[in-house]
Symmetry: C2
Subunit: 353 residues, 2 copies
DNA sequence: TAGGGCCTGGACAACGTTGTCAGAACGGGA
DNA sequence: TCCCGTTCTGACAACGTTGTCCAGGCCCTA
């Protein structure tokens, strides 16, 4: 009777019952409740039952803030990335979460929106919450602000891009090699005038991929005109303008290498648009960095340099928990290979204008 | 000198300096440090400077766990969804994060993987951390377990699907109306035999969309054969089999309505595959629920019922923070409209086999 | 039946912060 | 010179949990 009533009328609105309340109701000591809640041994079945009843009746739920304060570990890790809505980061984020879950940790994440200040603010907020560790996709080029935190014991792994000004565990895809392979693929199919459209130059992967492009061109003894290279925002208008410029100049390119999935998608749109300088009679070849859903269903299918976002996430989270489990070795730099997936757009032959 | 040294050798590895340490070093009281850290008034500039120097020297960072314990609010909200990697949830999640950020809160999120037990486990873990509020995309059909938490003051908003067995704020898209419109669109283009492939029947949106399908068929006086309706997992193999069955039966459908973006993509693949029962000579019309990237670039473009995931997220987070700001009104049920985007696949005429 | 060991339960301090409250220092006016 | 008011500062308790440590009761054996 009384039990039913109190089940429906909790302790007090907004202020939850504590172990003390449970102990009082069950007629046992505080520590005994703690033991029951944490499944520690040393409680007779009868006592345990009484405590459990009190817990259910009061709707008690352990306050993890207090627990964390006492124990020092939060069983949570932070993930800072650029944009949760980017299809590249979804699987990465998911993979990190899976690993965290396997280690009994929760994931707190935030988007930096490619803004260094916001990255810093987010990271420090996570440190203030005393996350056990951090997985960071850097937006800034200077991570010295993290050094004291790392020294204080917050394990940190960088992924997709290396940290700036400090040394730390990092997991990358082979941007340089991938881009070089992709451009070499275009060259192998006869292209000589190839354009490169990439992300902003302060982003490490963008410059690495550009470096790969230049290496492939140099390996083939091909010149690179300034007008063929464009780094900048991945906003569709910017990318569209860049594509139209290199397709329409005095020395128009016959193929484009797109620096990431955002760029690739926009280039596909440009090439497909009726007003495009490309046409069925004069197709433009395309290879993009990053695979994306439906790339195979477009006509022609889009040839890509695929990186495995989930694997990046798993590898990074794996490093992180290895650190949390006591690995104190030197920072590890992991580079995962990329894979060229030929689907047609990279195999189009060049046509003279 | 001494300062430089201590900057590089923090207090002790793994155990960070506290306000007490800062106070000791600055030669002030504990509370004064607290005042400086929180920007409270009543500290002379000189004292503030001394404290700030000590903070910098020691690498002090406030421990939010202790703060939360004392203050009762965590400035964090939880988001439980099905799968972070699903392109539908990316923008939703991002929108929730934006709103949270605007309110100074961090976002903790977890994937339920469509598993009711996992949902419950996640939600309760978040409650134990005393998140201020929860945004939940339900995987389970019974949320009575949440009632005590909500009574204890954890604001909760459900989004995309309604909660089970309890009443609470909820933000939905108009699944019924959207599906009905989509099927009506196919009927308007001459189709009489239309198939429906949807998600598992325990998912609310799946059954609502099926209901919309049936309503449109009934409105047009068309019969629905059992073989034309298939609910189940969105795994490609299952969807593929379902599609092939309804395309190949005694009364083959001439159009398919796909219940969500996962299904749509697989159906597109089936229809595009060379072995398909569809062919250029006998195209099959398609309308899908949910818009998706590149839908416009496929040939034919895929006609969809678009829902605005970001808007769902914003609306849900908006409700949540309204609750946290004191709104104690009755639970609100918000239904956002959907929009048909015609791109070609829904406008194909029926062909007799 | 007494003594020893084991098992169960509880009192208490500590974690790092913030709110309360009172005391100290300082300046100005009588 | 003294007193009062204002401003700044610090001591202390409290938040809810867990770890330490000790007390009491039980069972077993001699």
């Amino acid at each position: 009777m009384a039990e039913t009533a109190s089940r429906l009328t909790p302790h007090r609105y907004g202020s939850r019952p504590t172990m003390k309340d449970v102990a009082g109701r069950a007629g046992v000591g505080l520590k005994t409740v703690s033991r029951v809640v944490n499944g520690e041994p040393g409680v007779t079945p009868d006592t345990e039952r009484r405590v459990q009843e009190a817990i259910d009746a009061l709707g008690f739920r352990r306050n993890d803030s207090a627990r964390v304060l006492r124990k020092g570990r939060t069983a949570s890790i932070g993930l800072v990335l650029e944009d949760l809505a980017d299809p590249f980061y979804g699987p990465l984020s998911r993979a990190v979460e899976e690993v965290a879950r396997a280690h009994g940790a929760l994931l707190i994440n935030g988007s930096s929106a490619e803004d260094p200040d916001r990255e810093r603010e987010l990271v420090l907020a996570l440190c203030a919450r005393r996350v056990d560790g951090l997985v960071v996709i850097p937006a800034s080029g200077d991570h010295r602000y993290l050094a004291p935190e790392m020294a204080a014991g917050i394990a940190t792994v960088f992924v997709d891009r290396p940290p700036g000004q400090i040394d730390a565990d990092v997991v990358l895809s082979d941007s340089f090699g991938g881009a070089r392979d992709g451009v070499a693929h275009l060259i192998a199919h006869g292209h000589r005038r190839i354009g490169f459209i990439g992300d902003q130059p302060r982003i490490h992967t963008a410059t690495e991929r550009l470096r790969g492009y230049r290496a492939a061109m140099a390996d083939a003894g091909l010149p690179v005109h300034d007008a063929w290279v464009s780094l900048g925002s991945t906003a569709p208008t910017r990318v569209r303008a860049a594509a139209e410029t290199m397709l329409g100049g005095a020395e128009p390119v016959t193929a484009v290498f797109a620096g990431n999935n955002r760029v690739t998608v926009t280039v596909v749109r440009v090439l497909a648009s009726p007003a495009s300088l490309a046409s069925p009679a004069r197709p433009v070849a395309l290879v993009g960095f990053d695979d994306f859903e439906l790339a195979d269903l477009l006509r022609p299918g889009v040839t890509v340099i695929a990186q495995d976002a989930a694997r990046l996430g798993r590898a990074a989270a794996g490093r992180l928990f290895a650190r949390l489990d006591g690995d104190a070795g030197a920072p590890e730099h992991t580079v995962l290979p990329t894979r060229l997936i030929a689907r047609g757009s990279g195999e189009l032959p060049p046509t003279t204008p």
